[in-house]
Symmetry: C2
Subunit: 571 residues, 2 copies
């Protein structure tokens, strides 16, 4: 942008590229609606007020104009789509900036993964800012694809790849002053440093904040969020596919504290993004709950812009990016039109034929991420005892129960027993062909026959298999391996449904609508094979996450999360 | 500070340096009062909550604890004191951070002047952040002591001397895209860039904001301030000695917009600082006006901290600086105690014997700033006509009238005529001994006899003399010259009262109470010699400021500000 040209338009000396006439501008600074015109030039807002001439002029007939929405924290990988197709969904829903934590691909492919995401995000109208994944790997009790040190992250900051430090999940490391963790915090001094500290209170919270963490998106109750806000953390209210905090936290918001509150989606699968939406959905729900619309919109615009230091957006004001959402009804915030940088991208609520490059980004360095020693893969478990530790999965929860159950034995082996909802689970190192594999049992998934497998398994994303028999498990594992990563459901040697995720074993290379259809097929077949869960694939993806209680399985074995150590299957 | 040690205190594992028990903490994040304890270590807040142990423990018995106040914009030079003595006044009034624009000394001594201020501010408990003076010199129609280019300012930013760009007074240059001005703005991209745009509205305001200016402290009406706030400017409400905007602007503040509003003092003379106070006075007045006390305190703490990106202060929260004001009554905000970095500096409302170094700072490079060609100084004005242009000074206003009056002639010269309130005025180059001198006449100062002179004359700070006769004028000029700068009032050859300002001709090297006494003597004598003005020295200091309408006098002659050109005395 040539500033001199923009000033000429602002003064009224040169015509604007576009004048939007008769809008009702949502002014997030004053908290008022301004009925006036808007002049746009070089992708920026030149001025508000009457008397501007434009090369193009459009009469809004009193429609509302809001700043483009901002998602304060999202893992793009959870959409199972690459950034360009993820972007199509957000743009259609009025989101123009997303603060992304490429934590998943970083665990698979390290710096190369982050650079792939940056490259894939570069030419998009959705403005994606990458944060540096702070905890790769999550723990030493797993094999993952990469390790990121403070020096690695500092290099990413220095070359402009990342904007700040993403959720610091290693909160024990922060609180106890682990030098490696403090080095990461120090590398991002003066930059936004996001938090992740579920249920943390009192003195531990004081220490977490004193260390320099500035935001939190893991609150589940008003009391928890109010304490964290009072200690100085920005609160990101989250409404994810697998974590619904919005309605629980909306009562937190007051006229006095709303400036410190933002919205984020964290993790959303394609059907939620397409059917409900993104931050626009949260704004609608918040207004429906009773929040003043301008307050709700501030939480989706100015507040995150301030926390992230993005003073070029988050408001409709001279010099800021012309990222604008047009809606007809402020009480029912449904984007009818969307401008990004002054370009119309959405009309009548639908994405215009893509005006941006969806040409394939080179993903070769993050493909072929499956490297399994198939010779060593065998699922038989000799019964070394009568009682064993079993993972108890709970619907819609990431925490599990650690159950002690009788072994079902067959030919000297401990076996799955669908009649008891007892399935076998395996987690296979997919990075180093080391032959490392954890084996165990799980209740709560509910398959009565066949098996499911996937390479989406937080945070290490190894190959996870859950099944009712070893043949099905082997079919599922090989099916996913042959796709270069993905999700599959099988029955015996028959492959029932698949979703190929060739990009790092995490993301499809197809449009989000296609991904959604394939995913729906997976879910429908899991249901047909007996699972009562809303989303057993989502559930499976958290059964190997050894930082969330109580019992989890990694490629290194069963992890007692409370003791933070590997334990034997048999007791 | 060792972060690891702070975390240990925060966790409760090590004792704090100090625990303040039973305080009522003003929480500017939540907008609530929290009754709890406060643990302090290494000059920072370690944690809030009960159960902390301290090497020292003090019971506050329910007194209120607020964050240290922040002055968002001040010219220290206007206190006529050096930073250490200026600091004593602010600290006593609860101000712990001041954002200072060393504009005056920069006009006298350029980068050396700014470095003197930085050196003098370094060891003080008042945390002074310097902004880079943006407009030195103010115009080409004056001689001043230095020129600061964009490159000069960028160097000051690069070496950490300055925090941002101070008030950009050359608003025509901004609006019209003057390359030299845009270069200064570009040098401070991503940093706070303060504004100065009196009465600017509509399209010109759009352009000013689009250029990247982010704040404004020159508003005089609610309508003006509301428009500027809506365009995205932070509004600094000002209550200066010579500009009283507080009560006019308090009705601006709403629950929706208060986050964008701060307080500043801009220019305050010693008596105002000592008698009324500083930002504490504005907080008291705002609460008295009816503002919620926490809102008023936010405007004095969190809001300026956010605008200036000072995330280590502005709130009472873990990790932030332990800058704390203790008051007994939130409705009548009078600091009883003050802690800076956890050190008690004020008790029972009075400064404790200075615990910080008031040892003299080396001011040699900003002393001896008076360089006048005394041989060429002569005040006779041959009468070249019958009518002349006369400056019409108006009480408490910086603007003047341009009057056309008859000459009073004597022996062929145009002379002062106190009976008509017609005084002679001279502005003498004090930097280059060039002999440059402007001569003219002024009404409104009111001296009936004698003369006054001073080296405080915005923005160039040349030697200004106003008098009823040439002998008195010569005495006054030489008196000020002999002091190395200062203020004087004389009668004939008798020196009546003086205030020596050896530091750049702008600041005394004596304590603020002494400066105040000397200044009071100047005023009393000016009154005794006939001036009806509250402060004729303050008035005089703006009569040579050629950027404020309508008629002013510089060393280059009479300036018609509206035409922005030098004009002849006679018409």
């Amino acid at each position: 942008m040539n500033l001199s040209d923009l000033l000429s338009v602002a003064r009224g000396d040169s015509p604007a590229d576009l004048v939007l006439r008769n809008g009702r501008i949502v002014n997030v600074f004053s908290g008022t609606i301004e009925a006036t015109d808007l002049a746009i030039a070089s992708g920026r807002i030149a001025g508000l007020g009457t008397g501007y001439r434009g090369k193009q002029e459009i009469d809004l007939h009193g429609a509302y104009v809001a700043p483009g929405l901002i998602d304060a924290h999202v893992h793009i990988e959870s959409s199972l789509c690459t950034p360009p197709y993820f972007a199509t969904a957000l743009i259609a829903h009025g989101v123009t900036t997303a603060i992304a934590d490429p934590h998943e691909i970083a665990n698979v492919a390290g710096v190369a993964g982050i650079r792939y995401m940056t490259d894939a995000a570069r030419a998009l109208p959705l403005r994606i800012l990458m944060m540096a994944p702070s905890c790769v790997p999550a723990t030493h009790m797993e094999t993952n694809g990469a390790t990121l040190t403070a020096a690695d992250l500092a290099a990413l900051l220095a070359d402009g790849t990342v904007h700040g430090l993403a959720e610091v999940m290693n909160f024990p490391g922060v609180i106890h002053g682990d030098p490696a963790v403090l080095a990461k915090l120090a590398a991002f001094a003066g930059r936004p440093r996001d938090g992740h500290a579920p249920a943390m209170r009192d003195k531990r919270l004081n220490a977490y904040v004193a260390a320099g963490i500035g935001s939190e998106h893991e609150c589940t109750t008003v009391a928890e969020a109010a304490e964290k806000l009072a200690r100085g953390l920005y609160i990101f209210i989250r409404e994810a596919t697998n974590a619904h905090n919005l309605h629980a936290l909306l009562p937190l918001v007051t006229a006095h504290n709303s400036r410190r509150i933002c919205f984020c989606t964290d993790d959303r699968i394609p059907s939620d993004l397409l059917d409900q939406g993104s931050i626009d959905y949260m704004v609608r729900e918040a207004i429906g709950f009773g929040l003043d619309p301008i307050t709700a919109l501030r939480m989706a615009t100015l507040n995150p812009a301030e926390w992230f230091g993005l003073h070029d957006r988050g408001a409709i004001a001279p010099g800021r990016l012309a990222d604008l959402v047009i809606v007809d009804d402020l009480q029912d915030f449904r984007p009818r039109q969307l401008y990004v940088g002054g370009q119309l991208l959405v009309d009548r609520g639908a994405l215009l034929p893509a005006t941006w490059a969806l040409s394939p980004i080179d993903a070769s360095h993050v493909s072929r991420s499956i490297n399994v020693d198939w010779e060593s893969v065998a699922f038989a478990i000799p019964a070394r005892g009568q009682r064993m530790r079993v993972i108890g999965a709970l619907e819609n929860q990431l925490v599990t129960e650690a159950r002690l159950l009788d072994v079902t034995a067959h030919n000297g082996n401990a076996v799955a027993d669908p009649a008891r909802d007892l399935l076998k689970m395996a987690v296979i190192d997919r990075y180093r062909a080391s032959g490392a594999m954890g084996l165990g049992f799980i209740q709560g998934i509910g398959l009565q026959r066949g098996a499911m497998a996937g390479t989406v398994a937080h945070d290490h994303h190894n190959l996870v298999v859950i099944g009712a028999d070893d043949v099905s498990m082997m079919t599922a594992a090989h099916t996913v391996g042959a796709m270069g990563g993905g999700l599959a459901i099988v029955e015996g040697e028959h492959v029932v449904a698949t979703l190929s995720l060739p990009v790092a074993g995490l993301m499809s290379d197809r449009p989000i609508h296609a991904v959604r259809q394939a995913y729906d097929m997976l879910l429908a077949n899991a249901r047909a094979q007996g699972s009562p869960l809303h989303d057993p694939f989502m559930a499976m993806s958290f059964m190997a996450l050894e930082v969330i209680p109580s019992l989890k399985l990694t490629d290194k074995g069963l992890v007692d999360v409370d003791k933070f150590e590997i334990v034997d299957l048999f007791v």
